[in-house]
Amino acid sequence: MSDLGQTEDHIEHVPNSDFTKEIEKEPGGEYIQRCIQCGMCTASCMVATMTEKYRPRKLIQQILLGMREEVLRSELPWLCMTCRQCEERCQEDVSLADIFRAVRNLAAKEGHIPDTVRGVVDKVMEDGWMLKDGYSDFIEDDRDDLGLETDLKWNTEFVRRVKKRYIDGVNKK
């Protein structure tokens, strides 16, 4: 989390809806203003059950209050597992997984990406898939024993074009 974790800095701001409007334009962010802060999301969330630092309701509240910098610099939006347990139960159709994904996209654009995420993204956009380095001779033998194809034939060209078009200039500090 090298370039995150700056949440302790005090940032002056007054409540405003600018950040909410920004999120509303993103796919899945449309219904954020329907949130009534009931807390069903936090109550349903396994991450919130296991760590006190993560409260999805509070994170939504911060967005609604316009705390843009605090949210974008925080590691918390990266802790959403996108399991959508909260959404299944939200009576107002607020899609938290989509909202937090939109937040992560914005954070990434502004250089706030956890190191582990950056590492995987670089790997996938180079190799075309995630586990090239993990595909050992030992596993190849297992596949052979199972009668499975050992040449996995992943494409690398397409992801490089996608990276050039959509990620370069985004995934930078």
Partner: protein
């Protein structure tokens, strides 16, 4: 009967090849033909999705376009891939501007996405294309009441209105198949909760706590095994049962659905890769 293009995703071929082999063996036995895809790419789930929505859409769209070129519906066996490709399909089918932009990119290699082919998760193939009756008729060696708990995988069943696999709050497909094969399906607290897998890349300690909570809820029901339909869930629910924190606790075998169903259909253990499981399910599957 029906034919599908098999999209394995990144993880299954390397980390759980027995899942791939058992999917093929079981579906073939039940009359479904699978064709391997070549020249595929990662679906972009979670990681690419987190940094660029457009890049993510492009990657999952290409997989749909490859299946379209093969003239086949697409079969996914991973929860993350299934959720991603279905979500992207939904977006492409409802946003013409986005589809045009992505199609322009795909056109550079002669691919196109029109939306006329389907994408299905493994559970749908069992429930819709094969059907419970045909599975029942194919059982030659039924289990004798072995107690098993189902874990469905978040991205397999949610969001329900988009993925359309099962009832997201009360999923039943795995449970029904357990019962058809002669097992006893056992409910437990937090059945639809996450395995913690998606947290691994961000906070592995937290990921393990979430996975172990699930294991303890299942253990409380005194079951002999856990049945999964996603390699990522399977690996996560297995690995959280190792390490100092769980020293001395009995390990519960984690079995993919086709590995469980295969022996009941008369398929030998070797074809299902049973000996490769980190926690041996042999006592369960022999029962």
């Amino acid at each position: 009967m029906k034919e599908f293009a098999l999209y394995t995703g990144c993880t299954t071929p390397v980390r759980l090849p027995s899942y791939e082999a058992s999917v093929k063996a079981v579906l073939s036995r039940l009359g479904i033909t699978l064709v391997d895809m070549s020249d595929a790419n990662c679906c972009g789930a979670q990681y690419i999705e987190s940094v660029s929505h457009k890049a993510f859409v492009a990657m999952s769209a290409r997989i749909l376009a490859l299946a379209e070129k093969m003239g086949l519906d697409l079969l996914t066996v991973c929860g993350a891939c299934s959720g991603s490709i279905k979500t992207v399909k939904h977006e492409l089918d409802h946003d013409k501007k986005l589809r045009d932009e992505i199609n322009a990119l795909l056109a550079e290699e002669g691919l196109t996405y029109t939306g006329k082919y389907e994408v299905k998760h493994l559970l749908q193939v069992f429930a819709e294309d094969i059907g419970y009756e045909a599975i029942r008729e194919a059982i030659v060696r039924p289990y004798k009441g072995v107690r098993l708990s189902a874990h469905y995988g978040c991205h397999v069943t949610r969001p329900e209105e988009i993925v359309q696999v099962d009832d997201a709050e009360n999923p039943t497909i795995i449970d029904k198949i357990i019962e058809i094969a002669g097992g006893t399906a056992v409910d437990y607290v937090g059945k639809t909760r996450c395995c913690g897998g998606p947290m691994l890349g961000v906070d592995p300690i937290l990921a393990s706590r979430i996975g172990r909570d699930k294991i303890e809820n299942i253990r409380a029901e005194n079951v002999q095994g856990i049945v999964t339909v996603c390699e990522f869930c399977n690996l996560q629910l297995t690995q959280v049962q190792f390490g100092d924190e769980v020293e001395g606790l009995d390990k519960i075998p984690v079995i993919t659905l086709p590995q469980f169903l295969g022996p009941a259909l008369g398929i030998d253990f070797d074809s299902l890769g049973i000996s490769m499981n980190r926690i041996s399910p042999q006592p369960v599957l022999q029962g």
